[in-house]
C-alpha cells in the first residue's frame, strides 16, 4: 500500500503511465478513504488504463464490468444456477427428502457470481481486487441504482439470502465518456476527476515511454501534429490511444519522420470519421508539419 502521493505517482510511472500529480492525488485518496473514483474525460485519454495500471502497481486482480445498454442485475450482480437447482430437486426426490432440499436451493451455493458480486465476495486478504466499471454512461439509468448500494456500503442485498458485505473493500474505478449525465446520487458517492487531453510535453513523454523504439524526431513530429489536430474542430478529436496507435503503425512501416505522403497514408489511425478525413484534406494541416531538420 502507498503512504504518499509521490509513491503513487512513481508506481504509476514504473508501469509506464505518465500522470500529473492531480491524478495521483485522487488515486491516493481513493485508496486511503476507500471511496470509488469516477474518472471522466474524452475518449482515449487513458481512463480505463488507470485501473489496469493500478492493478499492476498494487499487485491485485482486476475485475472489469463493461457497461452497455440493457445491462441488468443478472449479468452484473448475480444469477441463480438453475440447472444446479433442478438437479438438487431431483436428487432430493430420489433420496426421499424433497421438501428440505428444495428449501436449500436458494443459498450461496447456487449463486453464479457476476463481476460486481465477485468483487465484493473475495475472501482472502492476499487477493485484493481492483473493480473497473467501464463506460458507465452507456448503461441505463436503472442500472446506476444497483450500483448505489455497492458503492456506498460495499454490500449486495439478495432477497432470498440477505445482505452480503465485502470483507475487503476493493479499489473501484468508474469511467464515463460523458455522453449523458450520471445521476447525482452516484456521483456524490465517488471522488471525481476530469482527465484532459495532455499538453505537448506530457504527450511526448507518454509516446517515448510507451514506444521506446521510436525515433526522437518522429515522436516530436507526431506529438506536435496531434496538438494541432486537437485544436481544430473535428467530430472526434483523437486521444492518446490514437497517438500511440499511430506511433506504433509508423514504426511498423519503418518511418523515421513524418511527411505529407506518410500522413495521408496513415490518417486512418487518428481520424475515424469520413467527414473528419475530408476536412483534414481541405484544411491542409499537413503543410504545418515541421521538416525533420527543424525539429528540436
Amino acid at each position: 500500500m502507498f503512504n504518499s502521493i509521490e509513491e503513487v505517482q512513481k508506481a504509476m510511472e514504473e508501469e509506464k503511465y505518465i500522470c500529473e500529480r492531480s491524478l495521483a492525488t485522487v488515486v491516493f485518496l481513493a485508496l486511503k478513504l476507500e471511496k470509488p473514483l469516477l474518472l471522466e474525460g474524452e475518449a482515449g485519454v487513458g481512463k480505463t488504463e488507470v485501473a489496469k495500471v493500478m492493478t499492476q502497481a498494487l499487485g491485485r486482480r482486476l475485475i472489469r464490468l463493461q457497461c452497455y445498454e440493457g445491462l441488468d442485475v443478472n449479468s452484473a450482480l448475480y444469477e441463480w444456477n438453475y440447472p444446479k437447482q433442478l438437479l438438487r430437486i431431483k436428487m432430493g426426490e430420489a433420496s426421499q427428502q424433497p421438501l428440505e432440499s428444495v428449501e436449500n436451493i436458494f443459498s450461496t451455493e447456487f449463486l453464479i457470481q457476476r463481476p460486481l458480486m465477485e468483487a465484493i465476495q473475495c475472501e482472502s486478504a492476499d487477493q485484493h481486487i481492483v473493480l473497473l466499471i467501464d463506460e458507465v454512461d452507456r448503461s441505463d439509468e436503472e442500472f446506476e441504482a444497483f450500483l448505489l448500494e455497492i458503492l456506498s456500503d460495499f454490500q449486495i442485498t439478495i432477497p432470498e439470502i440477505g445482505t452480503l458485505s465485502a470483507k475487503h473493500r476493493p479499489l473501484v474505478i468508474i469511467t464515463s465518456n460523458r455522453t449523458r449525465e450520471i445521476h447525482d446520487a452516484l456521483k456524490r458517492r465517488c471522488l471525481y476527476h476530469w482527465i484532459d487531453f495532455p499538453p505537448f510535453e506530457k504527450e511526448y513523454r507518454i509516446v517515448t515511454t510507451k514506444v521506446p523504439t521510436i525515433h526522437e524526431t518522429l515522436a516530436y513530429q507526431i506529438c506536435s501534429f496531434m496538438q494541432t489536430v486537437r485544436e481544430k474542430d473535428f467530430y472526434k478529436k483523437p486521444g492518446i490511444a490514437e497517438t500511440l496507435d499511430w506511433a506504433n503503425a509508423l514504426i511498423q512501416l519503418h518511418r523515421d519522420h513524418l511527411d505529407r505522403v506518410t500522413v495521408e497514408e496513415t490518417l486512418g489511425c487518428i481520424l475515424k470519421h469520413f467527414e473528419d478525413m475530408k476536412k483534414m484534406k481541405e484544411t491542409d494541416l499537413v503543410s504545418c508539419l515541421s521538416a525533420p531538420g527543424e525539429a528540436r
Binding site: T25, K32, E40, K90, P98, V102, D137, E181
Partner: protein, 387 residues
C-alpha cells in the same frame, strides 16, 4: 491530526457552505471525507489540498469553474484565516441572511425576457386576486396563439402545459411485460413456483423482453425571434425532464447549452433564474447549424438510430451557414429514429417555409408541425406518442 487545527476544520466547513450557496451540491459525507483526507496529505502543498477538496466537492466539469474561482478567493494568501477569507465569510453570512433578495442574479439585466417572464408571473398573481376570471371557454383558449394571451389566461395555459408534459411522460415511461406469454423461459419464477409442488416444475413461467424506452432529445431555440414562444416550450421541457428519465434537453441560439441538469428537480421559476446565468447568448441571433454541430460533437452518444426521437423547436430564421446546417441535418437523419421540427410560425395559414434555414432542413424531417398554441402542442404530443 485534524483536531489540532480547528481553524482549518472550521474553514473547510465554511468553504463547503459557500460552495453550496453557489449551487455546488456538497453533502455532509463529502465534507467528512474531505476532513478525513486532510490528515493524509501534506498541508504545505497547496496543490494537494486543492485536489483533495476538488475531488470530494466537485462532481461534474461544470462545477469546476465555480470551485476554482471560490477556492482562489477563499484560500488565497496561503493563510486560511487571512483577510480575504474573512471577507468572504462575512459576505457569505450576509448573503445567507438576505437570501431572498440575493436571488437577483447579476446576469439578469442582460436577459430582459427571462426577467419579464418572472415579473409577469408575480404581477399576474396579484392581478389574479383582483380580477375574477371572465367566462372563457377552454376550447377558445386552447386555440389562441401563445403571444395573444391576456395576463390572467397565461397562468392557466402555463399550468396546462405542465400537466400535459407530465401526462406524456407517464405514457412514455410505461413498460409492458406480458406475464406467461413471452418467448423466453423465466427460470427464476418457474423454480420459485415449483416449491409449492415439492420441487416438481408443473407450470412454466415465461417472460418477455422489456421494450426499450424511447429516448427524447429536445432542443429549444431561445433566440430573439422566439422570445414569445420559447417560455411555453421551456415549461413543456421542464415538465418532461422532471417526469421522464430518458430525456435530454438543450437550448440554443448561436451556441448550444445542455440544460438537463438545470431543469431537473427544480421549480420552473428556479430554473428560469438559473437559465439566465447559464445559457449563452439568450435572445441573440440564431445559428442552428453551429448548434447542431456542437450537439453532435459533444453528445453523439445520445443518439440511437432505433430509439431516439429528436425534437427541435425553432422558427428556422437562421443567420448561419446553410451548408453546415444541411450536413448536420443529414447527419442527424442518420442517427435518430424520428426527427420532428416544431415551428410556431406554421400556425399562420399564410406561412410558407421559405427562409433559407427552414427550407434547408425541411427535406430531412419526419414531421413538420405547428406549435403556436395549446391545442397544437397537444397534437404534437400525439405524434410523439405514436411509437
Amino acid at each position: 491530526m485534524i483536531n489540532q487545527d480547528s481553524d482549518l476544520l472550521k474553514n473547510v466547513i465554511l468553504f463547503s457552505q459557500a460552495l453550496r450557496r453557489r449551487k455546488v451540491g456538497v453533502t455532509i459525507d463529502n465534507m467528512l471525507d474531505a476532513l478525513r483526507g486532510i490528515s493524509l496529505i501534506h498541508l504545505q502543498k497547496k496543490g494537494d489540498f486543492y485536489h483533495l477538496l476538488s475531488s470530494n466537492f466537485v462532481s461534474c466539469k461544470e462545477e469546476m469553474d465555480t470551485f476554482d474561482e471560490l477556492f482562489e478567493q477563499f484560500w488565497s494568501l496561503g493563510d486560511p484565516s487571512g483577510p480575504a477569507t474573512k471577507k468572504i465569510i462575512t459576505e457569505e453570512i450576509n448573503a445567507s441572511e438576505d437570501k431572498e433578495e440575493d436571488s437577483s442574479f447579476e446576469s439578469k439585466k442582460d436577459q430582459p425576457f427571462i426577467k419579464a417572464w418572472s415579473d409577469e408571473r408575480e404581477a399576474n398573481e396579484l392581478e389574479g386576486r383582483k380580477n375574477m376570471p371572465f367566462y372563457s371557454p377552454d376550447e377558445i383558449l386552447q386555440q389562441k396563439d401563445f403571444t395573444h394571451f391576456r395576463a390572467e389566461e397565461l397562468e392557466k395555459v402555463k399550468d396546462w402545459v405542465s400537466i400535459l408534459s407530465r401526462k406524456i411522460a407517464t405514457y412514455l415511461s410505461r413498460r409492458w411485460k406480458r406475464g406467461g406469454k413471452g418467448d423466453r423461459l423465466d427460470f427464476r419464477r418457474s423454480i420459485r413456483q415449483s416449491i409449492k409442488y415439492g420441487g416438481e416444475i408443473m407450470e412454466l413461467k415465461m417472460r418477455d423482453r422489456k421494450p426499450k424506452p424511447l429516448r427524447l432529445i429536445l432542443a429549444c431555440d431561445v433566440s430573439g425571434s422566439m422570445d414569445n414562444y420559447s417560455q411555453f416550450f421551456l415549461r413543456f421541457m421542464h415538465g418532461l425532464q422532471n417526469h421522464y428519465p430518458h430525456c435530454e434537453t438543450f437550448a440554443f441560439s448561436t451556441r448550444l447549452s445542455h440544460i438537463t441538469t438545470l431543469l431537473k428537480r427544480r421549480t420552473f421559476d428556479e430554473t428560469l433564474h438559473l437559465l439566465s446565468g447559464k445559457v449563452l447568448d439568450w435572445s441573440g441571433g440564431t445559428n442552428i447549424g453551429a448548434a447542431l454541430h456542437h450537439l453532435h460533437q459533444r453528445h453523439s452518444g445520445l443518439f440511437h438510430p432505433n430509439r431516439s426521437l429528436f425534437l427541435i423547436y425553432s422558427d428556422g430564421w437562421d443567420r448561419g451557414d446553410t451548408t453546415l446546417l444541411d450536413s448536420e441535418m443529414k447527419n442527424l437523419r442518420r442517427q435518430v429514429k424520428r426527427l420532428i421540427w416544431l415551428n410556431p410560425l406554421l400556425g399562420n395559414q399564410n406561412y410558407q417555409p421559405l427562409c433559407k434555414g427552414m427550407s434547408t432542413a425541411l427535406p430531412y424531417l419526419d414531421h413538420f408541425l405547428p406549435c403556436h398554441n395549446f391545442s397544437s402542442l397537444k397534437k404534437v404530443c400525439h405524434v410523439i406518442m405514436r411509437k
